[in-house]
């Protein structure tokens, strides 16, 4: 009993010690309650930490990371996995990384876009720890213990655009996104180009919410798009349930992103792009454990693709509204992408008619990552900072 009380007292003291910190820290603490580090195996195992910006059960971006981290834990007997979710994109992430190192972590996956500067800095000051960042593209020199990884997300997104273009009656597709960054711009462009490939009249209406997950804003955005006449909604945010719910109530269709949420709206779900991170995580961890990380493809900007058969973002199962004819058409297109085709093969024009990709040219990933305009057929403007 006394032991229990002392333990409780310690926990409470710890809680109050942290409450003394800054407000942002407090937010992360409150959420730390949900993120009990989960140990999976012990012994002489290498500890690997995964840090997530949102809830590990968000039916979106963060849940995909969490599920994959648990697959790693289950399938790699020489690895112990610890996780932390709801860690904001500020100095809290540095503290979380340090806390993980204190727990013995040798490898850290910082999985949110905004973690990048903190992750890079942490890698530089901790040469014995390998830090991987999910989503950013580093143009400078890589420290020997740092790497970024991502996938050509726009490939499966363009296939989702095909499904959307094939079912729309109003020729208006709605797309809710968080911030105008290369990833979201590429995805919107690919979505519209995919839709155009099966329905030249399809237009994509876009709304940005300036937030990775604000359900009220998402609902306002979805309602505005539906009122505009959109009958298919897609999105690029961390959480997708509010947009799916809005579409469901309006009997509109949905193309998902991040995670298979077809169970939330089985009849409205067309398909989606979902993360399958586990194979990539396992490959990266194995490379590090074998001692060959430095100078490897992972000690750089690694971008998985359909063509290399290692794209971590894959096409989700189809819903009933996608006809069998359209399914085979989409799968045929997927096969073409796997054989090296590109959705961004020129000629492609910006909204204002400016040539984005010249005829016959297939842009490289770095070039695509520099796209700064919406393609013709997208309605809405990229907000200027």
């Amino acid at each position: 009993m006394l032991k229990k009380l002392t333990f409780l007292k310690k926990r409470v003291l710890k809680l109050f010690a942290t409450i003394g910190g800054t407000a942002s820290l407090l937010v992360s603490l409150a959420s730390c309650g949900t993120s009990t580090a989960s140990a999976s195996s012990s012994g002489s195992a290498t500890t690997v930490g995964f840090i997530m910006v949102g809830s590990r059960s968000d039916y979106g971006y963060n849940q995909a990371v969490y599920v994959a981290s648990q697959t790693v834990a289950a399938e790699m007997s020489n690895v112990k996995v610890i996780t932390a979710d709801n860690i904001p994109e500020n100095s809290s992430v540095t503290q979380t990384m340090q806390a993980m190192v204190n727990q013995g972590a040798k490898i850290i996956f910082a999985t949110s876009y905004g973690y990048f500067p903190y992750a890079l800095k942490f890698a530089k000051s901790h040469p014995t720890i390998t830090v991987l960042h999910q989503g950013e593209y580093l143009t400078g020199k890589f420290p020997g213990n740092f790497g970024t990884y991502w996938g050509e997300a726009f490939e499966p997104v363009s296939l989702g655009g095909m499904a959307a273009g094939s079912v729309t009656k109003t020729n208006k597709l709605g797309f809710v996104y968080a911030f105008p960054i290369p990833q979201t711009i590429d995805n919107i462009d690919a979505f519209e180009l995919g839709a155009q490939s099966v329905n030249p009249k399809a237009k994509t209406y876009v709304v940005n919410t300036s937030n990775w997950c604000d359900p009220l804003k998402q609902t306002e955005a979805a309602s505005a798009l539906l009122a505009q006449g959109a009958d298919v909604l897609s999105q690029h945010q961390d959480c997708q349930t509010a947009v799916i719910e809005a579409a469901k109530q309006a009997h509109a269709y949905v193309v998902g992103y991040h995670y298979d949420a077809s169970s939330l709206d089985p009849s409205g779900w067309l398909t989606g792009s979902v993360w399958n991170w586990a194979p990539l995580y396992k490959s990266i961890i194995s490379t590090i454990l074998s001692g060959h990380f430095k100078g490897s493809k992972y000690n750089a900007n690694f971008v998985g693709s359909f063509a290399a058969h290692d794209n971590p973002l894959v096409l989700a199962p189809f819903g009933p509204a996608v006809s069998s004819g359209m399914r085979s058409k989409i799968l045929a297109e997927e096969a073409k992408l796997k054989a090296g085709a590109s959705i961004f093969k020129g000629p492609i024009y910006c909204q204002n008619g400016q040539l984005l990709v010249p005829a016959g040219v297939t842009p490289t990933y770095a070039q695509i990552n520099n796209f700064s305009c919406f393609v013709k057929g997208v309605v809405g403007t990229i907000p200027q900072g």
Partner: protein
Amino acid sequence: MNGFEQTLIGGIAGGTAIVIPALGELTSELSGIVNLGTEGCMLVGALGAYAVTVATGSAEIGVAGGAVAGAVFGLLHAYLTIYRKADQLTSGLVIWFLALGITGVLGTGYVNDAITPLPIISIPGLSQVPWLGPILFRQNLLVYAGYILIALMIFVLRKSRIGLLLKATGERPEVVSVAGNHPNLIQVTAVTVGALFAGIGGAQLSVGYVGTWFDDMTSGYGFVAVAVVLFASWKPLRVMVGAYVFGIALSAESVLQTNGIAINQYLLDALPYLVTLIALVIVSRRGGRKAPEALSRALTDVT
């Protein structure tokens, strides 16, 4: 439906999630207790409503669950501030963090639970009124509850003995005491009822307009409600204007974009806050009620 109408329809629905908690905060502050934990009470209200809806299959019963959850947290704030003499601002923040943590843990399983949210009810007759009808009278139950609460609040504060007692408690608790009433009891009731309203506001998000549960889904709107009360100088009509204007501006952000209108990103994001501020400055030109005395004392005593 044109963009303007959609802005107002979405604005009223979203604004309801601000106006009900703001009226609650008004009740609380008039009695002399500020509740910064309104955000937390909304959050537990949102989850409480969602959990009860999942369990019972009825969003209407869910709203009651959300109200109770909010009230329980309000009661805690009342106990800490009134009987334990805790600093009001600190206690409010503690309530918020507590709510964040508890809903974060308990809410995990509810993200993937689908519910049937509150249905849209068209009021016969009124919803046929040209233009305004569909905007004001094709909404869900809680939007109508918001209208009724506004009217009720105005009536209670202007005409009833309860309103007088409430205001007197906020100004001079000693006088209330001498007159044979219990200022502490009145404050506890006011804070609890206020938090109950906050819980209902949270329910408007989870089982009303949005229709899903999500971690920290109130995203700071509870603080907006508190700010609206301050800027509305404790007048219910102004609170109403501020809350709905905020909702409408939030909705306008999306509608402007779907119509391809380009506005500076930062300006667009600041729009709801900016417009609300301007609106409240305009409606407050004729001077407002002074802060309840007990409230000013409680706030200036903070060292």
